[in-house]
């Protein structure tokens, strides 16, 4: 596994995402409520681009007529058929054992820490005063 610096934290606004090509893989990095998640940019059903997915809440109902929202913005709703996935691990909401999106570990690190380590991407000049999103692939 190699670590790749993919963006400044300021570059992906809350609720937004950025698509990056890492080793030939189309990966999309989402920013949700201060956290970052990286997933393969492809729905396992028919291949829709997840960068266009809606970031929605988990909606549950203990009985008809009563609705509860939780984990606002953490569920991913495919732009085509509306299949829902948990952004934290790519698992589908309806069939978590069999259907999932490939997910990747993400870290946020300060530039001054990165300077010392072996992880500086040549194509992405690092400034010590910023924070960076790092995806492990």
């Amino acid at each position: 596994m190699a670590r790749h610096i993919v963006a400044r934290t300021s570059e992906i606004p809350p609720g937004g995402n950025k698509v990056v090509d890492i080793a030939g893989r189309d990966i999309v990095v989402f920013h949700v409520n201060g956290e970052f998640f990286a997933l393969l940019n492809r729905c396992p059903h028919e291949g829709a681009p997840l960068e266009k997915a809606a970031c929605v809440a988990r909606l549950t109902s203990p009985e008809p007529g009563i609705y509860e929202r939780s984990r606002v913005g953490e569920m991913l709703r495919c732009p085509w058929h509306g299949w829902e996935f948990d952004m934290r691990n790519g698992q589908s909401w309806f069939d978590p054992k069999r259907v999932k999106i490939r997910s990747y570990p993400v870290a946020v690190e300060r530039g001054d820490e990165l300077r010392k380590g072996p992880y500086v991407a040549e194509t992405f000049p690092v400034h010590v005063k910023d924070s960076y999103v790092i995806v492990e692939v």
Partner: protein, 370 residues
């Protein structure tokens, strides 16, 4: 037997090593705005559209079907970067859909302005006429892959016949689209003049599910949820299939072809088995039928593939396709709507190259004579 069933493959249809070019029988173009129609719509009806708009059998203003599931029922990635609704920008449709999926022909299915559900029949006919002209001017003439249909409503039957004649003289349309939800079941005699003319002109009748006619979309009444309504597309179209067959339309018009669009195909085997079984029991009620209902279905009706049912086991889908008949299925994507099927991934069961070629290309080419 029709020319399609059990016909051996011709030499030019043998699987080629190249990628299969596909015929997509359900592509939805959209108006940018009503102004697109101005050049085709008389001033009187432009004014009517501005002042009164649609008169539908749905209660209250703006309780029309949108949004359902997704804004404009569209894929979230199908909004053109230049603005306007999904399906309204030819260049974007070419880039996102026609070119990458190797669409050789795409058949346009216009749903704008609830065209078949207009209760004011003269207004309905005027916008049908305008949209028929708009399909050629804005789409087919700019990209010859895109094929236009003659849209008419059955309930203004005389208006429909006049429009069919007008468009047939132009000679560029490949089918006649009628409403999936007319005021009466589609097999009723009042609609036969349209079927008669379609047979004479050798144009298939396309029936795209959806719309709001005078009746609840299910036999049980009006559904509460969109998911429930969407489910009912299959019941509605099954009822229309039964009406057409049992009222004797294929018996009366032996060369007529129907294409049911966006109704899926999972429901067909049981519907046909049941019709046959009942026919054996009640044939004295319908002595005008000379053959089993399934035989009419297998000769006169084709079904587009989307939405494809997705059973847990691939072999069940395979069995379903065999029950319906490989020759009966025409690929459709429903681009750019939310339940779009990608031709590369939609069939989650093995198909041979010959079967793929039939479903994705040659069946449609035979029906539409491309």
């Amino acid at each position: 037997m029709s020319e399609v069933i059990d016909r051996p493959l011709r030499d030019d249809e043998k699987p080629a090593p190249t990628r299969l070019r596909i015929v997509d029988c359900d592509v939805h173009p959209s108006l940018h705005s009503f102004d697109d129609l101005n050049e085709f719509l008389p001033k009187r009806w432009q004014q009517h559209l501005r002042e009164y708009g649609s008169h539908l059998r749905t209660p209250y203003l703006f309780t029309t079907p949108y949004p359902r599931s997704s804004p404009l029922i569209a894929r979230r990635d199908a909004w053109p970067p230049t603005g306007g609704p999904p399906g309204s920008d030819l260049a974007f449709m070419q880039k996102q859909h026609l070119d990458p999926l190797d669409v050789e022909f795409g058949i346009l299915q216009v749903l704008d302005l609830f065209i078949f559900s207009q209760q004011n029949l003269e207004f309905g006919a005027a916008i049908q006429r305008a949209i028929n002209d708009w399909q050629l001017a804005f789409w087919s003439h700019r990209d010859p892959r895109l094929k236009a249909s003659i849209l008419v409503g059955q309930d203004g039957t005389d208006l429909a016949i006049a429009e069919i004649e007008r468009c047939a003289r132009i000679g560029e349309y490949i089918q006649i689209n009628v409403s999936p939800r007319a005021n009466e079941p589609l097999g009723r005699r009042r609609y036969w003049p349209i079927y008669e003319r379609a047979q004479e002109l050798d144009l298939p009748l396309g029936i795209h599910v959806g719309g709001y006619g005078g009746h609840a979309p299910t036999g049980g009444g009006w559904p509460s949820y969109y998911v429930e309504e969407h489910q009912s597309n299959a019941h509605t179209i099954a009822a229309q299939l039964a009406s057409l067959v049992i009222e004797g339309v294929p018996e009366r018009f032996p060369k007529l072809k129907f294409v049911f669009i966006e109704g899926g195909f999972g429901w067909i085997p049981s519907a046909v088995w049941r019709m046959d079984q009942h026919f054996e029991r009640f044939r004295s009620e319908v002595p005008h039928l000379k053959r089993k209902p399934s035989e009419y279905v297998r000769e006169h009706f084709w079904f587009t593939t989307q939405p494809i049912d997705e059973p847990d086991e691939a072999r069940h889908l395979r069995a379903l396709i065999e029950w319906v008949g490989i020759d009966r299925l025409l690929f459709s994507s429903d681009y750019p709507h939310w339940d779009f099927d990608d031709p590369r991934f939609a069939f989650k069961t093995p198909l041979t190259e010959v079967e793929r070629k039939k479903i994705f290309s040659t069946n449609a080419r035979a029906v539409y004579k491309f």
